[in-house]
């Protein structure tokens, strides 16, 4: 770069007003991106002295995205086992049902495992979904060992050449070590039979900064391969999911946008990032 050009760049201040920067900062904080990350992205964008603040920030935010595949495992020679995990009330059971419905629509054979043997009527909830979708579900008694449900399910899936086994697990607060250990057992039991291909962590879009702790603890306990961000049909923007993806490189794979079976979509970064500014 010539000296002159460098001078011009240095003297230019960009045409974004201080008010506009403040407004963007407020909006991003309100999206649950986290104040540290927001200040980081704004500092970085400011130093580029842009004329379009949003474009500058979008570019930086896009660079945070994981380079890992956002597609779900698709092995043709054996059953693909997908576990869905997360804390209580994030929408695990509903997401399992939606994912099963999507896969069935794509012509795959799907079996469900109701390994949430803890929450009252969680098994019934999954069974109701299974009936609506027209697929089978392996269940266990209430308060029985979830690992045993998982074991019967994987046995059944391999015997009947099912393409996808989706395992719904009980909600567990990431701070309960014994419950996190239980999850490890479920996985070990399945893996004696066949590999676990995906462990999807459900992040509720309304979650605040605690989402980071949730993700880090689950990732430490098991091999999380992707995120599903649920409840994006409400007023919450789910900025925490981007913060998690940046920090952990675990890609967001799907988003949940409503209560119907069809309300699960592959994650599309552009509209999601744009929504964080609103």
């Amino acid at each position: 770069m010539s000296l002159f050009k460098r001078l011009v760049t240095a003297l230019r201040s960009g045409s974004v007003s201080a008010d506009e920067w403040n407004q963007i900062r407020a909006n991003l904080i309100t999206s649950d991106l986290g104040v540290k990350l927001v200040d980081e992205v704004i500092e970085k964008a400011k130093s580029a002295k842009p004329d379009d603040a949003k474009a500058a920030i979008t570019q930086i935010a896009s660079s945070w995205l994981s380079s890992k595949s956002r597609n779900i495992s698709k092995k043709s020679d054996r059953v693909n086992t997908v576990l869905v995990v997360g804390i209580n009330g994030t929408g695990k059971t509903t997401s399992v049902a939606k994912l099963a419905n999507n896969l069935k629509d794509d012509g795959e054979t799907v079996l469900l495992a109701a390994a949430d043997t803890f929450r009252a009527a969680a098994t019934d909830q999954l069974q109701t979904w299974a009936t609506r979708i027209g697929i089978q579900v392996v269940t266990g008694e209430i308060n029985s060992d979830p690992a045993s449900v998982a074991f019967s399910a994987i046995s059944k899936a391999t015997e009947s050449n099912i393409n996808y086994l989706l395992v719904d697990t009980a909600g567990r607060l990431h701070t309960k070590k014994n419950l996190m250990d239980e999850l490890g057992k479920v996985i070990r039991v399945i893996e004696k039979h066949s590999p676990v291909d995906e462990i999807l962590l459900i992040i509720d879009a309304t979650t605040g900064q605690n989402g980071i702790n949730q993700a880090l603890t689950f990732i430490e306990a098991v091999n999380i391969t992707g995120l599903i961000v649920t409840k994006l049909d409400g007023s919450a923007k789910g900025g925490i999911a981007l913060a998690i993806e940046k920090l952990t490189s675990v890609p967001i794979k799907f988003i949940g946008t409503g209560e119907a079976l069809s309300d699960l979509a592959p994650f599309d970064p552009a509209p999601y990032i744009a929504s964080l500014f609103e």
Partner: protein, 476 residues
């Protein structure tokens, strides 16, 4: 849940020493603001709160600097301000003039309404009421079944004429439920409704219609303590829509900083009335703003702890123990065992420890506390003869070997228990005359935690050299 915020504020306080200048105050309040934002407090509330603290400190700057302990004075100001934002005083349930008192539960999907309905019913029942649960969530698959299972487990009747799963009219069910309660003379009705977002007009209208048809005495907004910035928008949408009288916080047993609770209270003007702290039906209590403020500031929740202890330990047992202390009798393994029993009734050790002052710093150890150690300790004590339990001094080598065989534990474990027990005896002696927290003796059963003496038990003579720490100690 607020521990993390407490830790943050704690580290800010420990940086304050000696005279405090205006620029110190500005720096300090800016840090408070960032800490609040990281704790999910809404932007406007975080700004408002830190400004209030700044103004307050400035107007009292003479007083602060003249005081022998400026940091402790500032700590007080923050504490007062925080308690005020959190609700000022605890709100109590309002009863209907003529029963039944009708309670309507509303909130987002997954906030924990159905579990909470069970906990609230159990709470009311244990106070001698006759609650009825009404299953008006006909949306979520098997929400009705879930409520029935919960009702069965706590022996509270559930009014569920419709199967749910999209079948039936929630307004009709609610109306019929209240009528049923009147006919059968239930004095409380708890109506569980479907989760809904603040932006879904049709569903908001539905809950408004439920409200209009049953005219609840109390409408509660149930909210997950982990919610982020959206808490404010959602709470306002519910307030403008169905309206609510108070807030119930759920999932407080997680590690969320819970700042959103602060924002909801500040921006809606509605107090938090109850808090749910775990998956068991007993994990439920009234919400105490002053205690929570102390907890935010890392001062622990001693009041909650001793209340829980009171509930768990029968009056008789605790009286007997107290008498023993006063008479100067020795604390025996028998007492230890009855305390272990009480600890079991109080809930998990890790939760209890979280309520202790200064425990915020031991979070990791607390989480990994091995509950089964209590079981092992019990096994050892139960393998002792009554003589041994009442007079541990007789425990010679051969007796210890027999106990080891009887309990299936190694002799080294017996030795270390006896060693820790004699420490506990000493603590009990020190506590004599001071505040007595029943159940504390069992702390000695934990080898990986600081000894009881090191936890801020109210002791007269020890004053910390660190002003911030001292402020915490003296603030109790």
């Amino acid at each position: 849940m607020f521990e993390a915020l407490g830790q943050r504020l704690g580290s800010i306080f420990s940086g304050l020493r000696g005279k405090v200048s205006d620029s110190d105050l500005i720096e300090f309040t800016a840090q408070i603001k960032t800490a609040l934002l990281e704790s999910d407090v809404a932007l406007e509330v975080a700004e408002g709160f830190s400004n209030k603290v700044l103004e307050n400190c400035k107007s009292k700057s003479d007083e602060i600097n003249k005081s022998t302990n400026p940091a402790s004075r500032i700590f007080e100001i923050v504490n007062t301000e925080l308690t005020q934002v959190l609700g000022g005083s605890a709100r109590r349930l309002q009863f209907a003039k003529t029963p039944p008192t009708v309670i309507l539960l509303t909130g987002l999907q997954g906030a924990g309404k159905t579990s909470l309905a069970g906990k609230l019913a159990y709470y009311l029942k244990s106070q001698g009421n006759t609650p009825l649960l009404v299953a008006s969530d006909l949306q979520r698959p098997n929400a009705v079944t879930q409520l029935q299972v919960v009702g069965d487990s706590i022996k509270v009747p559930v009014f569920a004429p419709e199967p749910g799963n999209g079948i039936g009219d929630p307004i009709d069910v609610a109306k019929a439920g209240v009528k049923f309660a009147k006919d059968k003379l239930h004095n409380f009705v708890i109506v569980d409704t479907a989760g809904r977002t603040g932006v879904d007009q049709a569903l908001m209208q539905q809950v408004i219609d439920i409200r209009d048809s049953i005219k609840p005495d109390e409408t509660f907004f149930v909210v997950d303590a982990m919610i982020g910035q959206d808490a404010v928008r959602t709470a306002k949408a519910f307030l403008d829509g169905v309206g609510f009288d108070a807030v119930i916080l759920t999932k407080l047993d997680g590690d969320a900083r819970g700042g959103a609770a602060l924002s909801i209270v500040e921006l809606t003007g509605k107090p938090i009335i109850f808090a749910a702290t775990g998956e068991k039906v007993t994990d439920f209590d009234l919400f105490y703003p002053d205690r929570m403020a102390s907890r935010i500031l890392g001062m622990g929740d001693v009041a909650s702890l001793s209340e829980q202890a009171k509930r768990a330990m029968p009056e008789e047992t605790s009286k007997k123990l107290e008498d023993k202390f006063l008479k100067g009798e020795d604390f025996t393994f028998e007492d230890f065992l009855s305390q272990l029993e009480a600890m079991k009734n109080m809930g998990s050790m890790s939760k209890l420890m979280g309520l202790l002052p200064g425990a915020a710093g031991m979070k990791k150890q607390i989480e990994n506390f091995d509950e089964s150690e209590l079981v092992r300790t019990r096994a050892i004590i139960e393998s002792m003869t009554p003589t041994e339990r009442n007079n541990p001094k007789v425990l010679n080598g051969s007796r210890r070997a027999r106990i080891a065989r009887g309990s299936g534990r190694a002799i080294s474990e017996i030795n270390s228990l006896v060693e820790r027990f004699s420490q506990a005896q000493k603590v009990m002696k020190q506590m004599r005359g001071g505040a007595n927290i029943p159940g504390m003796g069992a702390l000695a059963g934990m080898s990986n935690l600081p000894k009881p003496q090191q936890i801020n038990l109210p002791k007269k003579k020890s004053r910390s050299g660190n002003p911030a720490k001292r402020a915490i100690e003296e603030g109790i």
